[in-house]
Amino acid sequence: MAASVLCRRTAVLHRHFKHISGSQCAILLQTAKYNPRPLRLNLNEPYVPDKDSTKTPEWQKTAKYDAKLYGRYGSASGLDPARLWPSHGQLDNIITEEKEWQPSLEVMLKNIELKEKEETEKRQAKERLIAANMAKMPKMVADWRREKREAKQKQKDDKARREKLLAVARERFGFAVDPRSPKFLEMVAEIEKEDKKKKKLMKRMLKGEQAAAPVTPPAATS
């Protein structure tokens, strides 16, 4: 109540409201009405430029300025209001421009769908590739580990062989031979030759055994 007394706006409304419906005494909050700035349109002395005179600047003879004149003075400007809208030619231009630069909602939605589909396809292809490669991984890991082990083993074998050769050379010559010297190399070549001969003999023997073995059992069974 005090609030409405102090503020004259709500007071007036409060009294008015009371007249209407005394039973429902609700405080109606009045809104601050939009008090617009006064439009100084100068309707008593309108300035309408003379189209034919050469003294009027060019920009006062354009269609845009005419529209502004009409906007300010209305029919007092003496303009045909039909000129405010675009002519048929201008309208055609506008429509073609709009068609080119502003696609309709359906077209945009379709484009969005296509883009999304493309994106999901890409993503899924990538994921599939990753999955396939990950599936190969255990085998690749095992292979790699095996190769590493074999390389290590080979290295060890080589080292052992070289140690043996050095030992043999040591026994033969009586002193530590440099593995790069020609004597050592000759010795290595001899040993290899002997090894080859042995292997050949072994092969022949094995072949002879194999030839004998399949012949005799069928003879035994039959």
């Binding site: 601050a32 439009l39 502004k68 909602l105």
Partner: protein
């Protein structure tokens, strides 16, 4: 017989009889103003007035901010990366908190008995929009969602989920719409536009990047399906834990359900009309081609 005591009493008498307030009969509260520091009044005549001893400091010739004496400064050493790329072209939305909106409604600057539009907000000087600074409208922020208590039909350009929930919890309606920059300029300053004498243009559709936002029912977009919006309202009510009030039984249902057409800028005015302020008339085109263009 006692008179009914006049409310206000002596205070009201005082208010009504004292002369009008002017600068001559007002003074600030004791302790209101803080006296500023005055340089050059200290012991020994102020001496250097707090400027230091010789050099650029005292003579006021210090180099620009960021200069490091010739060493490549920090702001040039760090290489560029596209964080701010296209920054000046990104759409901006002026934030409007629910706290401020509640304040505007309480004080009476925004009328809740009519649909609240960006025009109403700007008329009530609630927000300031600058379309030339890449502002594309106003966004509703959920600060003050706990104190918000007003049933309104509001139309903004972006809204956070909390803000949507707060408005719908109080029985209101919120819609997110798109205004292209020209339409926005017309929307926030309608009278200067009408003085230009141009026909009201069609509102353009959002660009392809914004179409998903405005066709989404979660954001209450104006291009979304009304059924999906209803489902989204129910889902949001469940998520935030309030009972969704039934709008069809509301007495203000007609006002709450008024929404603008996709191509409409003003309530009650269609594209193609010319509004004349001096004669208070509306001119409508009669040419078929124009009508077809403006209603497409």
């Amino acid at each position: 017989m006692s008179f009914p005591k006049k409310p206000g009493g002596k205070a009201l008498d005082v208010l009504q009889n004292l002369p009008r307030i002017s600068l001559a009969n007002m003074r600030p509260e004791p302790g209101a103003g803080r006296t500023s520091k005055r340089r050059g009044r200290g012991q020994h005549g102020g001496n250097r007035s707090g400027r230091g001893h010789k050099g650029e400091r005292q003579r006021g010739n210090r180099p620009r901010l960021g200069f490091e004496g010739g060493q490549t400064p920090f702001y040039l050493v760090i290489p560029k990366y596209g964080f701010n790329e296209g920054q000046s072209r990104r759409p901006q939305y002026q934030p409007l908190s629910l706290k401020r909106l509640q304040y505007l409604i309480d004080v009476g600057r925004v009328d809740t008995t009519q649909p609240v539009d960006l025009t109403q907000l700007v008329n009530g000087r609630g927000v300031t929009i600058q379309p030339l600074k890449k502002d594309y409208g106003v966004q509703l922020v959920d600060e003050g969602a706990d104190i918000f208590a007003a049933k309104i039909n509001i139309e903004v350009q972006r809204a956070s989920e909390g803000a949507i929930a707060a408005i719908e919890r109080n029985g209101g309606v919120i819609t997110t719409t798109f205004y292209d920059p020209i339409s926005l300029g017309i929307l926030i300053k309608p009278v200067p536009f009408f003085l230009r004498g141009q026909p009201i243009p069609k509102r353009m559709l959002p660009g392809q990047d914004m179409v998903p936002y405005y066709t989404d029912a979660e954001n209450r977009g104006y291009l979304a399906d009304p059924e999906k919006i209803q489902q989204a309202r129910l889902a949001l009510a469940q998520k935030y834990g309030y009972i969704l009030p039934d709008l069809s039984k509301d007495e203000l249902y007609h006002m709450l359900s008024t929404r603008k057409d996709v191509r409409q800028i003003f309530f009650g005015l269609a594209p193609g009309w010319v509004v004349n302020m001096s004669e208070k008339k509306i001119l409508k085109p009669t040419d078929e081609k124009l009508l077809q263009y403006y209603s497409s």
